[in-house]
C-alpha cells in the first residue's frame, strides 16, 4: 500500500498507509493524524484541512480550483505556493512516499 507522511508544525512525522481513491483529508482523519480539522467534511466550505505539499510532490496534485483559492485566501495559517486543501487531493498509488506538512493552526 502507498505510504503518506504527515509532518506537524513542530516537526513530528507520522507515516500512514494511504488508501488509493480517498482524499488526503480522509486519510488523515482515519489515521488519527492531528492538525487537520476538516470542519465541513470536504464540502469546500471551511478551509480547515490546509496542508503544505512538499514541493517535489506538487506535480502529482491537480491544480488548485478557483474555489480552493478562495478558501485558502482566508485560511488561518500563512498561504504559500504549496498550500493545498487536503480534501481536494485524491490519493493515487503513484503518490507513494508523498510528504505533506501541517500548518500551525487551522482556525
Amino acid at each position: 500500500m502507498a505510504k503518506l507522511t504527515f509532518v506537524t508544525a513542530l516537526g513530528k512525522a507520522t507515516t500512514v498507509d494511504a488508501t488509493a481513491g480517498e482524499t488526503l483529508m480522509r486519510i488523515a482523519l482515519d489515521n488519527g493524524v492531528t492538525g487537520i480539522e476538516a470542519e465541513c467534511s470536504g464540502s469546500m466550505n471551511c478551509g480547515t484541512c490546509h496542508v503544505y505539499v512538499a514541493p517535489q510532490f506538487l506535480d502529482w496534485c491537480p491544480p488548485r480550483s478557483e474555489s480552493e483559492e478562495d478558501l485558502l485566501a482566508i485560511a488561518a495559517s500563512e498561504l504559500r505556493d504549496n498550500s493545498r486543501l487536503s480534501c481536494q487531493i485524491v490519493m493515487r498509488p503513484e503518490m507513494d512516499g508523498m510528504v505533506v506538512h501541517l500548518p500551525e493552526s487551522q482556525f
Partner: protein, 394 residues
C-alpha cells in the same frame, strides 16, 4: 482526583468539546455519552453525499483510535434518563450512574414531526440520523415519486439528490416561499426557479393534511388541506427540528427554545454548560438569545467552551455561517439577518448570485449562490459583527 468532564451527546458539538479540550492540553477525564450507537459522525452529508454514495465510513469525524489515544471514553447507545444536579450525577438507561465535575449538554435536536395523520406509515422518512439516512437511501433505490413536507435546507437538498436519481419530487411548503426562515425573498425566488427547472413541483402556501396509506399499509400519497392529493411511494418529513431540552428542564435549568446559557455557554449552574443545536445563547452581535443549527456553531461552541473549562474564558463571539449544497448549487450565508432586514441582489461576473442584507446602513448578512469567494470575503468582513463596509467583491 482529576476533574471529570461529562458530555451528553455524541454529535459534532459534543465531539468538538472533547477534541478541543485534549488539543488544549486538558489533563482530566473526558466521557462522551449518547444514544446513538455509532461513533461521532458528520450530519451534513446525510442529505447530500451520503444519499448518493452510501459511503458510511466517510462520515466519521475521527476513527476509533483517536478516542483511545486521546483518552476520551465513548459510551454509545446509551440514553441519559436522569440528571441530579445536587449529586452531580447522571443515570443511564442501563442503570449505570456517572458522576461529573463539569457537565456539558450537547443533546442536539430531533425532528419536529408535523401534527398530521399517517406520519408513522412505512415509507415515511425523517432525515436526521445515520439510521434515518440508511433507511431512506435503501428505499430510494426503488422509489418513483417522493413528496417532501417542508421546503427548507434538508428538504431541498434531498430534492436535488432525488431528482438526480430520477425520482419525481414534490415539495409542500406552508410558507409563501422556500427557506423563508433562513434567506431573503430574492434568494428564495432564485432557488425556487432552479428546483422548478430541475423538475421539482413546488406547492407554496400549502399544508399537508395527512399521509395516506394503501391497502397493504404502505404510503400512497399526501393529502393537502385544500383537498388536493399528491401520490407518492416515499414521503420525507423535513419540517424542521426541536431542541432536546427535556433533561435540562427536568433538572430545573432555564429552557426557552433551547437550554439557556450566558456568553460563556454556561447555564445558571456554573458547572453545567450547553453547546450546539440545543443551546440558546446570547447573540454576540445583538441583544437577544439565539439558537443555531449549524456545523459552525457546533465547532465554535466546542472550542470556546474548552477554554472556559480550562479557566481561560472569553465570551463566545463567532460569526454564524451556513451552507447548503443543492445539486451543483452552493448556497452560503455569512452572518445573521433579521427577517425584515433590507436585501439587495447583485450578480458576480461568473454567474453567481449575491444578496447583501442590511439594517440601518450596516451589513448584517450576505447570502451567496455559487459565489464562494464572496462568501469567504463576507465572513472576513463580518467577523466582528455587522459592518458599514459594503465593499464586497461582487
Amino acid at each position: 482526583m482529576s476533574e471529570h468532564v461529562l458530555v451528553v451527546g455524541t454529535g459534532q458539538a459534543g465531539f468538538q468539546v472533547a477534541a478541543s479540550l485534549r488539543q488544549k492540553g486538558f489533563a482530566g477525564d473526558i466521557t462522551l455519552v449518547g444514544d446513538e450507537a455509532v461513533p461521532p459522525y458528520q450530519r451534513p452529508p446525510l442529505s447530500k453525499a451520503y444519499l448518493k454514495e452510501g459511503r458510511e465510513e466517510r462520515l466519521h469525524l475521527r476513527n476509533l483510535s483517536f478516542y483511545h489515544e486521546n483518552r476520551i471514553s465513548l459510551l454509545g447507545g446509551r440514553r441519559v434518563t436522569a440528571l441530579d444536579r445536587q449529586a452531580k450525577r447522571i443515570t443511564l438507561d442501563d442503570g449505570q450512574c456517572l458522576d461529573w465535575d463539569r457537565l456539558v449538554l450537547a443533546t442536539g435536536t430531533r425532528i419536529a414531526v408535523p401534527p398530521i395523520g399517517g406520519v408513522n406509515l412505512p415509507g415515511v422518512h425523517a432525515l436526521r440520523s445515520i439510521d434515518d439516512a440508511r433507511r431512506l437511501r435503501d428505499e430510494m433505490a426503488t422509489m418513483r415519486r417522493a413528496v417532501v413536507i417542508g421546503g427548507g435546507f434538508i428538504g431541498l437538498e434531498f430534492a436535488a439528490v432525488a431528482r438526480e436519481a430520477g425520482i419525481e419530487v414534490s415539495i409542500i411548503e406552508s410558507a409563501g416561499r422556500l427557506m423563508a426562515r433562513a434567506i431573503s425573498p430574492q434568494m428564495s425566488t432564485i432557488v425556487q426557479a432552479i428546483h422548478s427547472e430541475h423538475g421539482v413541483s413546488i406547492f407554496l402556501n400549502s399544508l399537508a393534511a395527512s399521509v395516506e396509506a394503501q391497502a397493504d399499509g404502505r404510503v400512497y400519497g399526501v393529502s393537502l388541506s385544500d383537498g388536493r392529493f399528491l401520490p407518492a411511494d416515499g414521503v420525507i418529513l423535513a419540517t424542521g427540528v426541536v431542541p432536546n431540552t427535556e433533561l435540562a428542564d427536568a433538572a430545573g435549568l432555564r429552557v426557552h427554545n433551547g437550554i439557556i446559557t450566558d456568553r460563556y455557554l454556561t447555564t445558571e449552574d456554573p458547572r453545567i454548560h450547553a453547546v450546539g443545536d440545543c443551546a440558546a445563547f446570547p447573540d454576540p452581535f445583538g441583544p437577544s438569545l439565539i439558537r443555531l443549527e449549524s456545523v459552525q456553531a457546533a465547532v465554535d461552541h466546542g472550542r470556546c467552551l474548552a477554554e472556559v473549562i480550562m479557566g481561560r474564558p472569553s465570551p463566545y463571539a463567532a460569526l454564524p455561517w451556513f451552507w447548503s449544497d443543492q445539486g451543483r448549487y452552493k448556497l452560503q450565508i455569512a452572518g445573521l439577518a433579521a427577517p425584515d432586514d433590507a436585501a439587495r441582489l447583485t450578480q458576480t461576473e461568473n454567474g453567481g448570485q449575491v444578496v447583501v442584507r442590511s439594517r440601518n446602513g450596516l451589513v448584517t448578512a450576505v447570502e451567496t449562490l455559487n459565489a464562494p469567494g464572496v462568501h469567504m470575503s463576507a465572513r472576513k468582513l463580518l467577523a466582528d459583527g455587522p459592518s458599514r463596509d459594503i465593499a464586497l467583491s461582487v
